[in-house]
């Protein structure tokens, strides 16, 4: 079995007394692509946000690349000290649904800013990496453009490059194509496929069922804050016995 990159045990999270994650346990292994599917409001984003430290869990434990981010003590989650949390965060990259590029920076600066400020790389070195990433994203001619001058698909590719520039061990995507016009989703999915072919470890929340089926090594189906079903793509999409999953998939197959 390959190395376990993320291990979450029984994580719980409420917003204002309303439980949103009701005991989620899952793991991500090196080099695999994990797809998370499920109806809107089922807690997919919250799960990603908890693992990437944009939210704090109430209970349960999370271990990332062998380092304990949060452990369970007396039914409550206890976080590691700040330095450890920051260090753990550097293993992870996150691509947002609505990109969240920095509008006042050029494309190149969007990608180099974190490597320069956080990893203390020289600007020259960071720019070299950034240009290589832009080339890979098919955006070599856009390095001095500003985000507002790009299409949604181009912005999302820049944001993927920005995340990759930090050389994360795992890359998370929260519905990377949901904010895009349908004709632009293909270019993003292609990029993710390429990364998958390079064995980048990825967790992708998506509503693109065909993509999940083709690319994901494993699929998790969430509903109502719990994992209802998980397995390889064939198990989840092919012959599930679960009624909630069947209903969910039926909606997509119609559409």
């Amino acid at each position: 079995m390959s190395k376990e990159m993320v291990s979450a045990q029984n994580i719980r999270k409420s917003f204002g007394g309303q439980p949103v994650l009701k005991g989620i346990s899952c793991s991500v292994h090196q080099g695999e692509v994990l797809a998370i599917i499920g109806p809107s409001g089922s807690g997919k984003s919250t799960l990603l946000r908890c693992i990437t430290q944009l939210e704090q869990i109430d209970g349960g434990s999370i271990t990332i690349c062998g380092e304990e981010l949060a452990r369970e003590e007396d039914g409550k989650a206890v976080y590691a000290d700040r330095k450890t949390c920051v260090r753990i965060g550097l293993h992870l990259g996150l691509v947002f649904q609505n990109f969240n590029l920095f509008p006042h920076f050029s494309v190149l600066r969007n990608i180099t800013e974190a490597p320069v400020r956080v990893l203390k790389k020289s600007r020259g070195e960071a720019e070299e990496t950034a240009r290589a990433l832009l080339k890979k994203m098919g955006l070599s001619d856009k390095e001095s453009a500003y985000p507002c001058q790009l299409s949604g698909g181009q912005q999302q590719r820049v944001s993927i490059a920005r995340a990759l520039a930090m050389s994360p061990d795992i890359l998370f995507f929260d519905e990377p194509t949901s904010a895009l016009d349908p004709e632009l989703t293909g270019e993003i999915l292609r990029v993710i496929r390429e990364l998958a072919a390079e064995h980048m470890t990825m967790v992708v929340v998506t509503h693109e069922m065909k993509f999940a089926r083709d690319v994901a090594d494993r699929v998790i189906f969430m509903d109502g804050g719990v994992i209802v079903e998980q397995g390889n793509a064939e198990e989840v999409f092919g012959n599930t016995q679960n009624e909630r999953l069947k209903t969910f998939l039926a909606r997509y197959n119609e559409g």
């Binding site: 944009l54 965060g89 947002f96 006042h104 400020r117 507002c148």
Partner: protein, 219 residues
Amino acid sequence: MDPETLASLTTLLRQMGEGTLSTLLIFALTLLFSLPLGLLISFGRRSKYKIVSIPMRFYILIMRGTPLMLQLFFVFYGLNPLFGIQPQRMQAAVIAFVLNYAAYFAEIYRGGIESIPEGQYEAGKVLGFTRGQTFFHIVLPQVIKRILPPMGNEFITLVKDTSLAQVIAVQELMHVTEKFASSDVSTVPFFVAAVFYLVMNGVVTRCFTVAEKKFAYYR
């Protein structure tokens, strides 16, 4: 023009020029201190700790809710009986202006800061920026772009508000104008003062136009 008129006009212009220097001094010192102070106050106003945010709200309420003239009087005449401190006229004016304008600036900063989407902070955090780096490199530049128009208004108002310092007898432009107008029984000083204020605000307006252009490269 007979020599006597020329001489008195020269005196008028020289003294009004000196008054203008005082006006500019108040203007510059007020900005120098109130711009950063306003930022600190807006941080305090946004603090999640009530013990910080409530006093800041109260401060802003008092500073914006009472006349600037009253505040000038208070700093010049009130500090001595209360705390045994007697500032000089110019010092008192600058202190009052700084305290007052910081409150207005704090609210402008707050509006700007709150208009920046949460996603900018989240992107910064996920990339490993510290909170300070995220604020100063990601958020603040965008805030500055958004607050330029209200700041421009405030700067223009400040140029004119400096004239209030005459109530504690600071020898600024308006004070000198009034002195000449009443002693010479002439309207010339009024027109001269109007031109001086207009020139100052023309420069301020021009600076803001340039700054807004400079920030126009992104949305």
